[in-house]
């Protein structure tokens, strides 16, 4: 839902915005409305960007129960960017890995909670599942094909709090409201001693189409 009409920045000349010039509708529409909206549309940040060194991985290790989702790695908290509709910017995600022993599943979850293992089977829009069916390492296509996850208005609200922030270098402390979130990776296999091995994670904010 790009909010700028032109979905791009519009250039004007300095003379068009010179002092004492009137504020006409064209300048206001292009320079103020479109450009301010486009700046916000493209203000999403890269929150996770990792690829492992050769022969390296992070794995579930041996877990207690077959098919039990086990925590692999978490990234965050970070200040999630929120859209004007109070849902989060869409997170363009990617997961890389392979299995050792027997195939399994991995979940990537965008959440305001520091651990969501117990609720993982219930998450929907803020999670993506990946079938890990190869022993050859590579980026894995998400089940269903969508590369984006996001937090709903209710999830954003639940994850919103305040942090202390300064008004200037060495200045006075104030409180700012922010929504903090994590990217979690969980995995499971049918044999408790087998492993899902994660070798890359990407998560970048995008306004959404």
């Amino acid at each position: 839902m790009a909010s700028s009409v032109n979905k791009a920045f519009i250039r004007i000349t300095a003379a068009q915005a010179a002092e004492n010039d009137p504020c006409d509708a064209v300048i206001a529409r292009d320079c103020i409305v479109n450009n301010a909206a486009h700046i916000a549309d493209e203000a999403g940040q890269v929150r996770v960007a990792w690829i492992a060194r050769d022969n390296e991985y992070i794995s579930t290790g041996t877990h207690d129960v077959a098919y039990d989702f086990t925590h692999v790695v978490s990234y965050g908290p970070f200040p999630l960017s929120i859209r004007s509709d109070r849902t989060s910017y869409r997170m363009r995600i990617r997961l890389r890995g392979h299995y050792s022993g027997s195939s399994g599943d991995a979940y990537l979850v965008l959440s305001g909670d520091s651990d969501v293992t117990q609720a993982i089977q219930n998450v929907t829009g803020n999670a993506a599942s990946f079938s890990v069916v190869s022993t050859t390492d590579g980026w894995i296509t998400p089940d269903g094909g969508s590369n984006t996850v996001y937090m709903s208005e209710a999830q954003v609200s639940a994850a919103t709090g305040v942090i202390s922030t300064l008004d200037a270098v060495g200045g006075s402390p104030y409180q700012a409201a922010i929504c903090t979130a994590y990217v979690h990776v969980y995995a499971s296999t049918g044999v408790a001693t087998d492993q899902i091995r994660i070798t890359g994670v990407e998560a970048a904010e995008f306004i959404g189409s």
């Binding site: 791009a8 206001a28 940040q45 992070i58 978490s74 970070f78 270098v169």
Partner: protein
């Protein structure tokens, strides 16, 4: 009220601006709020990644990154998670390189107890210049560094200066006059649109540091005279789309440096190369020193690599629904090349 930074943007509505009609105060208010948010809501300096490096008991490791922070940054938050290598809590000291303030923390053993620490570091002065930031971990007990990230702490309010770019919300209330002053009214909004075009960039694109050490399992290394990828494969980059013109094309430059050294004196010439799926390549050529050094030299400009810009008509922003992947390859004519850090960021130089 001043140049407050809101919780979320409120893009102004284009349909409220038409020829022959007055431009309402709410249009200016929405633009001011949106610009204040874009510049002050907190950018990612170091996108989270997993160093996955072990530090032995009484060991020490320093992580370094090249960044171009926003001028609006007054504090940054380091977020790291650490795991104990034994079934008991492991103590370690964390010292950001700029503030130099050391704090002691503990890492747990079980993955589900993974300990995340957040350390806020104040900056000495506001600047958007390229700089090295980082931290040192001094481990009391053996630990594994599982993830690292760093973001600029969101601002409560911006200053209404030309550099900070904030717009005083009082100046765009109904029945206020329209005038041309930095940080206020219509003139201030026009100036801040230009400021925000650069300031609201995505700072960190890819920041990988495994610590300045030549110990096995830390920095990546090669002895190959032909190009060798020391990573698992490729990883994508995608840049902001600014202009939709033929001259602007479909790629923009990101900037990059590597922190490298040779294992011994008298090494051969070395290359570090990025190859993008879009066909672009960028090579940093140097003869490494035996001490850790940034290449190309920080006395000059960083190297650039052209990467795809986003497509706002796509559901996930990927141009042509394809990942623009970066493949990293290193080589050295003779000797051993160690690379401790790869830093890629969006610069103020091409905004």
């Amino acid at each position: 009220m001043s140049a407050l930074v809101p919780f979320n943007p409120s893009p102004p509505n284009e349909t409220r601006v038409r020829g022959g009609l007055p431009i309402s105060s709410s249009t200016f208010q929405d633009a001011a709020l949106t610009l204040n948010w874009a510049m002050g809501h907190g950018a990612e300096l170091i996108p989270f990644y997993s160093p996955n490096v072990n530090i032995s008991a009484a060991g020490s490791l320093t992580f370094a990154y090249r960044v171009e922070p926003r001028y609006q940054q007054v504090q940054r938050a380091w977020v790291i998670s650490v795991k104990s290598q034994s079934a008991s809590l492991a103590a370690f000291d964390f010292t950001p390189s700029v503030s130099g303030t050391t704090t002691t923390h503990y890492g747990a053993f079980r993955p589900e107890d993974l300990s995340t620490i957040v350390v806020v570091e104040d900056v000495a002065s506001q600047s958007a210049s390229e700089v090295e930031i980082g931290f040192t971990i001094d481990a009391t007990d053996a630990i594994t560094v599982m993830s690292v990230g760093c973001w600029e702490v969101p601002r409560y309010a911006l200053a209404t200066s030309a550099s900070d770019g904030g717009i005083d919300l009082d100046s765009v209330l109904p029945r206020e006059p329209i005038y041309d002053t930095t940080g206020k009214s219509y003139g201030g909004i026009l100036e801040s649109v230009v400021t925000a075009r650069t300031a609201a960039r995505r700072n960190g694109i890819l920041q990988l540091s495994w610590g300045s050490s030549t110990t096995a399992g830390h920095s990546v290394s090669t002895t190959s005279a032909s190009y060798d990828n020391p990573l698992r494969g490729s990883i994508s980059q995608l840049s902001r789309l600014l202009y939709r013109t033929a001259s602007a094309g479909t790629t923009r430059n990101h900037y990059w440096r590597v922190l490298a050294r040779s294992a011994a004196a008298g090494p051969g010439a070395a290359d570090c190369r990025i190859s993008m799926t879009n066909g672009a390549t960028s090579t940093i050529s140097f003869t490494p020193s035996t001490t850790w050094t940034w290449y190309p030299s920080t006395a000059g400009a960083a190297n650039t690599i052209a990467v795809n810009v986003e497509d706002l008509d796509e559901a996930d922003g990927r141009r042509g629904a394809a990942w623009d992947d970066s493949t990293f390859e290193f080589r050295i004519a003779s000797g051993t090349l160690h690379v401790a850090s790869i830093s890629i960021w969006e610069s103020t130089s091409n905004s």
